[in-house]
Amino acid sequence: MTETLGKLRTDLGDRSAYDAASQCNRCGYCEQACPTYVVTGDEGKSARGRNQLVRLMLENKLKDPKSVQDALATCLLCGACTTVCYAHVPTADLVLEGRRALRASEPVPVLMKVLGELVERRPRLLAVLLKGANILKRLGVSRLASRTHVLRLLGMAGLEEAERHVEEAPLSFLGERLRRDPELAPSADARWAYFAPCGPNYLYPRVGEATTYVLKKTAGPGTFLDNPCCGLLFYNYGDLEAARRMARRNIENYEERADGLPVWGDCSSCVAHLKTYPQMFLDDAGWRARAEAFAKNVKDAAEMSSSAVPPPAPRAPTSDPRGCTYTYHDSCRARNGEGIVAQPRLLMKTMCGDGYRELPEAGWCCGGAGAFAFTQPELSDEILKRKIANIAKTQAQVVATSSTSCLIQIARGLKKYYSECRVVHVSELLADELRANRYGTPTRP
């Protein structure tokens, strides 16, 4: 059973989902912002279409509410529509509400049940299993698995697809590494806290290491929150109560270990979710206040050029010392969810000098969008191709971004269509600068 939020936080104040959906006056100005509409030309796969369909569901006007399944399942939740909408109608939130309402009558899929149990209650077992999988992957067993479709036979086709997307297989996870770091132990001197999102934790420990390195070098002593999952998985695909439980655990953990400190995270999907925790507690005054206190301290690594981490001194326009060309892809949740647009560009420009090129359609989703790449492989690939074509236009060798899903998806796309370029997290570039002591150095030979 899945309940719905019922009430949403919108740009026009707290509104019932019905009021929020009705705020869409069908002007259609969102259409060209919606990647799935642009790719398909199908109104049902546009933001306006989804707003209207959710509204019809809420009005009980559909004979077969299940017929909206495809329209809702194909939404990337990128939020580009909300950014261009005059009234900022929260389409992604409405789509999630619609999906929850559809799920209400369905049993929870086995995969979600198992994954949910592991993420929420048995994270250590999850780590062991993932490590086992990574070892197998390194041994080449995954290729075997994919050839024999073992996962599909086990009813886990999605997992098989997911497995194929992931290129990296770390053998020690970020949490373990940071837990061992004495500099990040709980301390009264800490001036910041680090939140390890699942992506950096299980797939890209190098990203989390880069972020904590940068923070240590620029923002003084800090601490690792040793946190559980943010709960976005449950919020998007599972049930809300589980998402709330994860939120409460994270808030309590924060209050215990780092109350009042800024919390940095380095996966924009996760960070944007942390920032919207209050939406899950609109009718619970106590938790709402605690969620708001927490959310206002959450920071995205993509905004590290803000006052907390002073931007590096501009380098003379002699281009990058490595002679590289760089570009920046906006994670949708950073751009549309958190409104982070200027900060990473400032950072990129100061780091890369005239080696930085602005990416055409930088705010166009890469098609990763969490599980979207596995659940909608064809659409995802269409959207990805456009992204890679734009990256190729800049002739960049390095594209920086800020969320795990983009890292996975763009790495896959680059490998397939434009292998001259690699994708990194913006923290990694910044850490490189610091390690090479280039940070703030005015000129290079």
Binding site: S22, N25, G28, Y29, D42, Q69, Y86
Partner: protein, 669 residues
């Protein structure tokens, strides 16, 4: 309704990916930017002209209604499938096929987004003039169907002035190509703005213009709407045609400032003026505009000097709709148009109407061309409020009609203003529209129940129609002769001065000479329009008007004005004719178009009369656009040759004169 069995037939043609029939799929095509909703039975996602042809032909063969749709941003219910049937989505026909700077044209498919065309042209140093507010999402095909305008059309004209040729799939599934270079009646002009009721455009060639060397953007505050509009008239009278002349009232400015402060003047009226052209000239014009603004009481005058500042001055105008859209879920955007000089009066009327219906209205005008957009925020879920707002909208349109204006400047009639058409046009004119529609679409399948009022709506509107100006004495004489001929079934030979063509009368022909139609009906000095009888000599008229300080955009031709138009002596005249009074073969007369420079109410029939060689009707009056500065107009053109009618011309003829009694020689005896 379409039966499931026959839909399966269509599914074989298009396959499940391009033929949508699920409940949610259909619901997603049940609306556009207006309020109406109605679900189709199927949606075809067309990729090519062939797809369009197959879908239209299938619908024609099976008697299924079909509605073409681009981005669905229509504000008048134009793409709602009122009778179900098939929605033909052109949103995937998005290729720009050619940009030819030497020929100054671009060729594109109907699903190309207006802005995407602009971007492609900009790379070639050019632009496409029509710029509707929805340009970021709306499509070229939709723009052509609606004859879309935008702020720039004061100087450059609306879509109809910029489409040079189209390929169309006609309601019977046949392909046709219409161009401004075609001889005879202007089919292209009739198709543009027909709101998809006469066919589906599958490809268009449009005019492109070089980007101006300089643009000056000016923002001015005025103490009253009246003074701002007087200033607008003075600017036009000074021979300056700005590329943009937008007015915002206090309520609009206040709502913008409350949402996203743009630092607009706190004045009763604000004008946003933009001049473009060659460098020195723009500065000269800006100096004149500044002087005129100050003379008309401007409280605040700002001119942007760079691109960033231009953007800032535009912010308030761009944010105007956004600000209203945040007040309540829905916004009624009316689109009435009045002769420019009547704008202050129209403004007062709108305010009174809004007050009477407790509606909060924020006003925006394309002030230069008399097009007003009252924006009223409301919540469609509140039935009582929605009724009030709709009522107010209708009364605003009636006020526009009473002030000598029209129902729509650029949004179209669709289903929303269909009933109002009966206030604007006489029963004879509406009957002509019906015959035209039936001539091309006898089954009534192409976008049914749009543009033309339903008979019940027509009856209800009868008392609301303002009285028509009677025929002049000379025209009455012709009408009487025509009625007599109709009664006896005699053929009629329409003759002007015989300058361009002297057709021989056959025995028994009634000769109808227009040379007695000599009077100037109305010279509207503030609106820069002239209504004149068709028997005047263009050359004489031109000289008379020049004495009064007006430039007539016609060559100094001899013969009659009516003859000049009927023979299409100069094809360029199509861009200067705003309206016509025409005597039909029955002896009835119809008033077509109007005296406003921007008008998308009903079919653009005057275009079809230009080049009709008197075979459709007798032009008795013409309304023309005038100018304060001379235009580049060719000298007297050579005498034109009669055209050879094609099958589309024959369909037009059947709507006007099925018995071939008027100038029978044109279509062959």
């Amino acid at each position: 309704m379409t039966s499931a069995a026959s839909l399966r037939d269509l599914a074989r043609t298009f396959g499940p990916k391009r033929l949508l029939t699920g409940e949610a799929d259909l619901a997603a095509y049940s609306y556009d930017g207006a309020l109406d909703r109605s679900s189709p039975d199927a949606v075809v996602l067309a990729r090519s002209e062939g797809d369009v042809r197959r879908a239209v032909a299938w619908c024609a063969a099976n008697g299924v209604p079909i509605v073409a749709r681009g981005a669905g941003t229509n504000l008048s219910g134009g793409c709602i499938p009122l009778k179900g049937g098939v929605i033909l989505s052109l949103a995937r026909m998005t290729r720009i096929l050619d940009v030819d700077t030497a020929a100054a044209t671009a060729c594109a498919e109907p699903g190309v987004v207006n802005l995407h065309l602009q971007e492609a042209l900009e790379r070639a140093g050019c632009f496409y003039a029509p710029d509707p507010a929805s340009s970021k999402v709306c499509t070229l095909g939709g723009n052509i169907a609606e004859n879309a305008g935008g702020p720039r059309c004061l100087k450059y004209g609306t879509t109809t002035n910029h489409v040079v040729a189209i390929e169309v799939v006609m309601p019977d599934g046949e392909s046709a190509r219409f161009s401004i270079d075609d001889e005879g009646p202007d089919m292209l002009g009739l198709m543009v703005g027909a709101e998809g009721t006469l066919g589906v455009v599958t490809r268009a060639w449009v005019k492109i213009l070089p980007l101006p060397a300089q643009i000056a953007t000016i923002l001015v505050g005025f103490p009253s709407i009246e003074s701002s509009i007087r200033c607008v008239s003075a600017i036009i009278a000074a021979g300056i045609v700005p590329r943009v002349l937008e007015a915002l009232d206090k309520m609009t400015v206040e709502s913008v400032e409350a949402y996203k402060p743009a630092g607009y003047p706190k004045a009763e009226a604000v004008l946003l003026i933009e001049l473009d052209g060659v460098k020195g000239r723009v500065d000269e014009e800006a100096a004149v505009v500044e002087r005129l603004c100050r003379r008309h009481g401007a409280q605040e005058y700002r001119r942007a000097t760079d691109a960033a500042e231009r953007e800032r001055l535009w912010e308030g105008r761009r944010g105007a709709y956004a600000a209203v859209a945040r007040i309540a879920p829905n916004v009624l955007v009316e689109d009435g148009v009045v002769p420019r000089g009547k704008l202050p009066e129209a403004y007062d009327r709108v305010r009174q109407i809004a007050d009477a219906h407790q509606a909060k209205v924020a006003m925006l005008f394309h002030a230069g061309d008399g097009n007003l957009h009252p924006n009223i925020a409301f919540d469609e879920r509140n039935a009582e409020e929605t009724r009030r707002v709709k009522r107010a909208g209708f009364e605003i349109l009636r006020a526009c009609v009473e002030l000598g204006g029209s129902l729509s400047g650029e949004h179209g009639i669709g289903s929303d203003k269909r009933a109002a058409m009966a206030w604007l046009f006489s029963p004879e004119t509406i009957a002509l529209f019906r015959r035209l529609k039936a001539a091309f679409d006898p089954q009534g399948l192409c976008n049914p129940e749009k543009v033309i009022p339903l008979p019940s709506e027509e009856d209800a509107a009868r008392e609301l129609r303002p009285a028509r100006r009677p025929l002049t004495a000379a025209a009455q004489e012709l009408a009487a002769k025509m009625r007599d001929a109709a009664a006896t079934g005699a053929r009629v030979l329409v003759a002007g001065a015989g300058t361009r063509h002297a057709a021989a009368a056959a025995p028994g022909d009634v000769i109808l000479a227009t040379t007695a139609l000599k009077s100037i009906v109305e010279l509207d000095r503030s609106n820069y329009t002239l209504t004149v009888e068709a028997g005047v000599e263009p050359k004489v008229l031109k000289a008379q008007l020049l004495d009064k300080g007006f430039h007539l955009p016609l060559p100094a031709a001899g013969g009659t004005l009516g003859g000049f138009l009927a023979t299409k002596a100069w094809a360029g005249v199509r861009d200067h004719v705003l309206g016509m009074r025409v005597l039909l073969a029955s002896g009835e007369h119809v008033d077509l178009g109007g005296k406003v420079v921007k008008n998308v109410s009903g079919y653009d029939v005057p275009k079809a009369l230009i080049g009709s060689w008197g075979a459709f009707g007798v032009i008795v009056e013409v309304t023309l656009k005038l100018h304060a500065a001379p235009l580049s107009i060719p000298a007297e053109p050579p005498a034109p040759r009669p055209f050879t009618p094609d099958r589309w011309h024959r369909k037009l003829k059947s709507a006007f004169d099925p018995q071939n009694r008027l100038n029978a020689w044109v279509f062959g005896r």
